[in-house]
Subunit: 79 residues, 4 copies
């Protein structure tokens, strides 16, 4: 998931976690926890992980999902 080395990652892992619970993930995506749970049940939300019985979202998966929902826009227009 990360390209940097295992020691750096372990050092960071001792200070925090890349995982968000459902409500944290929903707040990040600016949608309600209720909608995120609905999307999950429908198989339409971001990838999630069952750490035993706890559902967690990796920050990378939230960003990937959002990116997949992107409409191109007009970065190179000169309107």
């Amino acid at each position: 998931m990360d390209s940097d080395d295992d020691i750096s990652r372990a050092n960071r892992a001792k200070r925090g976690s890349p995982y968000l619970n459902t409500d944290q993930a929903a707040a990040y995506l600016k949608i309600s926890g209720r909608l995120l749970r609905r999307l999950r049940r429908a198989g339409k939300g971001p990838a999630s992980r069952h750490h035993s019985r706890f559902i967690q979202y990796h920050i990378d998966d939230l960003d990937a999902w959002s990116k997949a929902k992107m409409s191109a826009g007009a970065h190179h227009d000169d309107a």
Copy 2:
């Protein structure tokens, strides 16, 4: 989108979101929500994302769009 590590990003994600809704994005760009919606429909605005039925703008995409609209200016003039 970010080059820094996943834990830092997850920690920040628990405190806030990089996404703005249409009116927030418009205010950031100093244009009206009505104009931003018009640009979106015309495919001429910043990239947007459909988080389920909610349209969001990532701050990076707003900055990128703005930068694409930049005119070179005269930084190296000695007028």
Copy 3:
């Protein structure tokens, strides 16, 4: 475990360790140390190592376990 060269790895090894103890690993996975110990006894947790009598988790093994618990989500949907 790393693909880069042995000298780089040794240099990094002099500055830190890729191993987390049980409580550090549990915090990283956002579960309790008690649950992680239970999963370990049940053979259902991440791979662990006995460095003599000390149990350690390699950061790569924690990430691999989490990934194995992933539900696919909908990265490629256009819902």
Copy 4:
């Protein structure tokens, strides 16, 4: 130990070493230097080398020892 060519390895060798002394190796493994010395005397620690009177551990041997102490865990379970 490395598969790449001798010139590359020599160039890298001019910049650093893949060897750790006992205390560095112990810190890397998250055990005490005292325990590592005890394991060495008991023939139960990682492979070590006597460079003349100096005992050194190659980073690859530390990783190999740790790997040999691994309990499988449950990477492929869907518990």
